[in-house]
């Protein structure tokens, strides 16, 4: 009897270390972040939030962050969908194409920023190409506050280059799980390739799309090193402001207030995706 009871304890003992760890390094810091954000010089209050909102960069940071997410996430989803479907039609060399396309998965946003800095800097490769085509006379700088539109496009391009891979990998994993019969049935009933895509593949992929969107959106709200490496402080985003307040101003309170904003926005996005893209159990493939 006691041996039986001991055996029942085994799974809990196996889970315990990870639970203790996550409590110490996830749940407690989570609560502490909230506490830091509401802890002011004169006791509890929203002082940190007031200082955050009053800061000259706050509105820009909010607008820029949402603008990047709103452009990048749909763009990446479309691109990754196209790539995932293309992969189905590659017979020879599929593995190598897949490897090449998933390389950026292992590249950080800082590294991606530096890569695109090499391309877009004054004496960079983009300007060399423009120069050879006679479009510019000499080195030209694109990443300053005088050219905000180009800076924005550069950030979109770099972020798309880096992070489409993670969407692709999740979608390819999903496509591999799709039963072939559905597509074949669509063919038998005379569906066009487009109908087959929108009426069969897309609905079946919904769970994968949902996961990809949640993951990607949360990560896109967190993106900051790419922005700092390309544009310095010319293009503030939420997390780069949190970083500045923490490291340059040594003001953890305001940094924590930014962290709370990022967390709420990420959570809200997750909830929206979970409810909008819900798959009823009876429709599960």
């Amino acid at each position: 009897m006691s041996a039986e009871r001991a055996r029942r304890l085994v799974p809990y003992l196996l889970l315990l270390p990870s639970l203790v760890f996550l409590t110490a390094l996830f749940f407690i810091p989570l609560v502490q972040t909230v506490a830091l954000a509401f802890d002011g010089e004169h006791g509890w209050g929203v002082g940190n939030f007031n200082r955050m909102v009053d800061d000259i960069n706050f509105t820009d940071a909010v607008e820029n962050t949402f603008a990047v997410v709103a452009v990048v996430v749909p763009l990446q989803l479309c691109l990754a969908l196209a790539m995932a479907l293309m992969l189905r039609h590659i017979d020879r060399g599929r593995d190598i194409v897949l490897w090449i396309w998933s390389i950026p998965l292992g590249i950080s946003d800082l590294a991606a920023g530096l890569v695109w800095l090499a391309i877009l800097t004054e004496r960079g490769y983009l300007n060399t190409i423009l120069f050879h085509f006679g479009l510019i006379a000499g080195p030209e700088s694109w990443l300053t506050y005088e050219t905000p539109a180009v800076l924005f496009i550069a950030i979109i391009v770099a972020e798309t280059w880096r992070a489409t891979a993670i969407v692709l990998v999740i979608l390819v994993a999903g496509v591999q799980l799709l039963p072939r019969e559905y597509g074949e049935a669509a063919d038998v009933f005379g569906a066009s390739p487009w109908q087959r895509f929108t009426r069969v593949t897309l609905p079946l992929l919904k769970p994968s799309i949902q996961t990809a969107l949640i993951l990607r959106t949360v990560l896109a709200f967190e993106m900051f090193a790419l922005v700092l490496s390309l544009g310095g402080r010319n293009f503030p985003v939420l997390v780069s402001e949190a970083y500045q307040w923490q490291n340059a101003e040594q003001d953890t309170g305001v940094a924590a207030a930014y962290a709370i904003v990022v967390m709420l926005v990420s959570l809200a996005a997750t909830v929206v995706y979970l409810s909008v893209l819900r798959t009823p159990r009876e429709q599960m493939p």
Binding site: L25, I90, W101, A111, V115, A173, P207, S229, T252
Partner: protein, 267 residues
């Protein structure tokens, strides 16, 4: 038909080039050293004529010492993630018990949060515990990022190994621990290696927590972020290059398991 095939293949080619060309360009920018950075107009081929540039690249002191710290942190993170994650994954895979679903939900919940940002309060805790500005401290923070992934993937990994193998070992007189080590572990090893590699990459690439938790013993990402404004471009490009190389190699190593892992980790 052949025309359509041609358009299709050139699409594949363009998308591959879109991924590879930027990596090529950072390689030649980094290896060309200071001279290549100033060159105008740029050459799209590497200038390996002079050994001096390559030496200049290898001499960038800050990048190499920071890379060593990064490796230390990433190896620790890898070890912690496996030691904490694999037992939990095994429990989820092999035992039916109350609370299993709740635990899974808790693990999934971490994904909706920007975990790196939680480093802010940890600065205070770590100063108190003497973990601030140490590779161990950063590695602990990074493990919080990598652990949920390790738990879910190892659960699916162990689930894929038939329970009968283990039971057969018990029949032949192996203890549970021995059966696990002699029967399950060898079969799970490739998958475990993939989890380890992923934990390494997650840590190697993390920027925010590493920058907030270190001052003098900076990881490569933290070092590069702090010197962005003041250091010359060739140092930044060298750093970017060093950051990218391991990622490319690791993705190559796990390419076979990538999709199975992500497919399962996200159900």
């Amino acid at each position: 038909m052949t025309l359509r095939r041609g358009i299709f293949l050139s699409g594949v080619g363009v998308l591959s080039a879109w991924t590879l060309v930027p990596i090529w360009l950072i390689c030649i920018s980094a290896l060309g050293g200071r001279n290549a950075v100033d060159a105008w107009p740029k050459s799209f081929l590497p200038n390996l004529a002079s050994f001096g540039t390559l030496r200049a690249f290898l001499d960038i002191e800050g990048v190499w010492s920071a890379a060593l710290v990064s490796i230390e942190v990433a190896v620790l993170c890898m070890a912690f993630s496996l030691l904490l994650g694999a037992p939990a994954g095994y429990a989820l895979a092999r035992y039916a018990f109350r609370g299993a679903t709740t635990y899974r939900l808790l693990i999934l919940l971490t994904r909706a949060f920007p975990v790196g940002i939680l480093a802010l309060p940890l600065t205070i805790t770590f100063i108190r515990l003497d973990l601030y500005d140490t590779p161990l401290g950063v590695a602990l923070m990074h493990t919080a990022l990598a652990l949920p992934f390790a738990v879910l993937v190892s659960a699916s990994l162990f689930q894929a190994i038939p329970r009968e193998f283990e039971e057969a070992a018990w029949v032949f007189g192996c203890s549970r621990v021995r059966a696990f080590l002699r029967v399950v572990m060898p079969l799970a090893l490739p998958g475990v290696a993939a989890i380890a590699i992923f934990a390494f990459v997650i840590s190697w690439n993390e920027v925010f927590a590493a920058s907030v938790l270190t001052v003098r013993h900076r990881t490569l990402t933290a070092y590069l972020l702090t010197v962005l404004a003041e250091s010359p471009l060739h140092v930044q490009f060298a750093g970017g290059f060093v950051l990218i190389v391991p990622s490319v190699v690791f993705i190559f190593l796990v390419r076979k398991r990538l999709f199975a892992m992500w497919g399962i980790a996200n159900r």
